[in-house]
Amino acid sequence: MDLSRRDFFHIAAALGIGLPSVASAASAPKRIDEVGLKDIYGFNAKGNVTILHICDMHAHIKPLYWREPSTLISAPNLTGTPGFLCGESFLKHYGMKGKTLDAYFDTFMNFDALAHKFGKMGGISHMKTLINHIKKERGAENVMLLDSGDTWQGTGVALKTGGEAIVKAQNYLGVDVMVGHWEFTYGKTRVKELIEMLNAKFVSQNVVGDDSFADDFEELIFEPYTIMERGGAKIGIIGQSFPFTSTANPKEFTQGWSFGLRLDTLQTYVDKLRKEEKVDCVVVLSHDGFSVDQEVARQVKGIDFILSGHTHDPSPRPTVINGTVIVIAGSHGKYVGRLDIDIQNHKVKGYEYKLIPVASNLIPADPEGEALVKELYSPYDSELSEVLGITKSTLFKRDTFHSTFDQLINDSIIDAMDSDISFTPGYRWGTTVLGGDSITMDDVYDMTAITYPNVYTFELTGLHIRTLLEDIADNVFNTNPLYQQGGDMSRLGGVTYEIRVGAVTGKRITNIMVGGKPLNDTKVYKVSSWGGNLQNAGSNLKDSLTRPVYDVTAAYIRRQKNVNISGNSNVRLMDYDCGCPKKGARGC
């Protein structure tokens, strides 16, 4: 869809913004209707090498809507720092203007109005057109495409093909190197099969054998790094898979493999690449998370670039710490990060970076990609395209505490299981369904497509529930990024509570109410949960109720037909006044 001037008048009226003035300087941000393909492609090319970076695509090979968070809260020492920016604080930090194409992609602001007008984001056929354009501009032999992982999981088509559809998509895009996290939830055997099908190299320095009876005990499971030559330069790429895979996801999938940050060995490989392999540039391809990688840059010396992932942050400008340049490219295929590097005399002399929005209305689809997507979806089309119901309000995923699509899932679970409390995980992947649009089975899978989808129903005492909430809060709000796991708070159905994020561990959560009554520490509650391992803490597991979450949710929406979820959070944030606080402030 091309945006006409007429379109712009409509949106300008909707948003109450004035007519665009004549651009005074070439660099002035353009209003969204003025942006053309030239602006998206526009880049101040530099040096001899281009690294293209993608992360956290979560198997979205088709374009989608993805609303960024309106609440993104952290420990007070991290508030308003890259990784914990949203809305106005995001725009201010990066010196951006609202109502631009970038602001539509990077923030939740005016999302619904802009989404209706300006369309979906990402999709491999649009990404490929962009990648092809850059390869043509720079010379394909000077360009590489690196993927920070969380690519194989997140949609129905990914789950139903055991990840294979997405590997085909990566091969089509031309991914050169990748690392993993949710990839591992297909299990060790399947991971190895998929790596066989993958044209890219899978590298990780932080996954080692943990089984003292196996041949690979204390040995690396994957190559720790790879060296690629581009533009006459030798570039060393060290892999860092998600350090807490075995804690955040069921251990059964990676039994015998040990993860961890392993900064000691990371330093060893950086030094080895420099001294023995004589590379000209050291890159860490990482799934640590944006705030963790800022800490990695403080502790590990000699890294030129960290290409981060996991926390889904769009970062229009690099963050530089101790000379290490850190970038992260959002999520769900919304962006391709372009990093041009000037390498001279075996050293990095300079760089230029741009986070390029994959605006599917502006970047034409590559026909080959469209055909591939069609082929990959065709066996599942009839199931995935089923319309389950219509939503009145916009269903979204991202927020630190509460999101509307998760509330719909919790409502479905409580309705089906007749439980007092429902836990839905605070993952950061999913989809956005605009108010007034229909909800399809594909949308439900976008929120729930995991290899351990069961909803378990069991009993927990009030004290255990309180303890669990504190434990989860400490993973999300720890003052030390190295002790965080990079997700959001679990979403609770049937419960309201107050939280002081800055309070000490174990003292953050107060005033927990279940069904409108104060939580009783000694009372036994009927609890349902999925996507975690809470069921192992409970007693009296009700096996007869156990069912996959996507079936439970789909059945509920079919019955309701019209879904109307309120945007009211069940969590009261006591030490901040708004969802996107500024650095060092309570407010925005």
Binding site: K251, H464, T467, Y483, G506, D521, G532
Partner: protein
């Protein structure tokens, strides 16, 4: 359900333990009946005989930031030392500061060991500091510590 069996639930099936709840830790202290049970300060004093502990970069401890499995947390301790007859490490002690039984391992060495290194796996009842103490041949005690988080996780 007792706290112990609650923790065991995680340990056995999820293979990871939950952080010690602040509400339950007081009850735990009252109940502890192990003959080995002593608090951290008493355990350190039993090792050092009351001498001061000196934090030192010569003691290098490797432990995960977040335990993959609270029941078997890998800990490695290396102490920089010539291990000569005149200057060697007499012992390496590993302590879990908040476990019911604080002392996890006591390793006695001689110069014949050649290298002051020990690795083991310890059980942690919750998030806490793991502490290594090196008893040197000159009668001093060097130390290093690291906080290890024990969590149910599950919110990736």
């Amino acid at each position: 359900m007792e706290r112990r069996s609650f923790l065991k639930g995680f340990g056995a099936a999820a293979a990871c333990a939950i952080a010690l709840p602040h509400v339950a830790s007081a009850a735990e202290e009252k109940k502890s009946a192990s003959p080995m049970a002593m608090n951290f300060e008493t355990a350190v004093a039993a090792i050092t005989g009351g001498k001061a502990l000196t934090p030192s970069a010569k003691v290098k401890m490797e432990a995960p930031e977040i335990a993959e499995n609270g029941a078997v947390v890998p800990v490695k301790v290396t102490v920089e030392s010539p291990m000569s007859d005149k200057d060697y490490v007499k012992a390496i002690h590993i302590l879990a500061s908040k476990n019911g039984n604080v002392r996890c391992a006591n390793i006695y060495l001689t110069p014949a060991n050649g290298e002051a290194f020990f690795g083991t796996r310890i059980k942690l009842g919750g998030t806490q500091d793991v502490v290594a103490i090196a008893e040197m041949s000159d009668g001093t005690f060097l130390t290093a510590k690291q906080n290890v988080k024990v969590t149910i996780g599950g919110c990736g």
